[in-house]
């Protein structure tokens, strides 16, 4: 087997090792992205309200 194939094969533990890393990547990436999207939504919502009422009460 070539080096790359051997690496991907993980000595027969490919499913478990790559499964763990993929799951970790997905969960961490989703948790990092979600609050950024939420922040953009919040700011847009607040800015839209400002357009109607002005920034100060």
């Amino acid at each position: 087997m070539s080096g790359i194939q051997e690496f991907l094969h993980m000595g027969g533990y490919a499913l478990y090792v790559w499964g763990s890393y993929a799951l970790t990547l997905i969960v961490l990436a989703a948790n990092a992205l979600q609050p950024r999207i939420r922040e953009r939504q919040l700011l847009r919502m607040l800015a839209g309200r400002n357009d109607r009422t002005g920034p100060s009460r």
Binding site: G11, G12, Y16, A32, R36, R57
Partner: protein
Amino acid sequence: MFTFLHKYGSPQHFYRLSRGLAPWFGGASALLFAAGLYGALLLSPPDYQQGEGVRIIYVHVPSAWMSLMVYVIMAAAGGVGLIWKVKVADAFARASAPLGAAFTFLALATGSLWGKPMWGTWWVWDARLTSELILLFLYLGYMALQTAIEDRRTAARAGAVLALVGLVNIPIIHFSVLWWSTLHQGPTLRPFAPPAIHMSMLVPLMVMAVAFMLYFAAVVLVRTRNELLELERNSNWARELAAEEAAR
């Protein structure tokens, strides 16, 4: 101490602080993740018993540590909010919970993926696994309380009490592998004892652990400032901030 609490305890100041700090924590975390993954997948050797399967340790153990650490931080922030009525502390506790739940889920799931080839089973109702599952339920219970109670003050107080009572589970998880006989292996690292792991594995493990901590710091800062912005949406600073952002 109290001037400090008042300055950074003010949502507006915390918001600015978070804007300044979060990108640095995020950047440092990304660098350490890159280095840690290189060490974990390429540099570190296979285990003499577990072969390449041992590489799961580099995501499983940091997740498990974080699941405990975030819980203690969440309970402490909840306690500060309960006693001194600091809005930022309440928001911080509320922002921590979903992250703690995510780390707990990862610890359980990667543990399962590790258990199947090594123990021959995905799950066993032993002390370590069961107490970690209870930790997940504590996080989910805390989050359910936050959603169910509409008034933020009441939700924060109820959540803080739950989090503080649930603290009893933390030493149970930590010592479970010593107190009860279990399939789970004993601790790899203990204070005042040489580590039960070779340096070539310890270094990438610690790098990954620090990367996880910095990741948490970056994300919790963003989550907390979102909570504060939502909470204070009718205040002048929030309105001005939105106007500034819209003008950019």
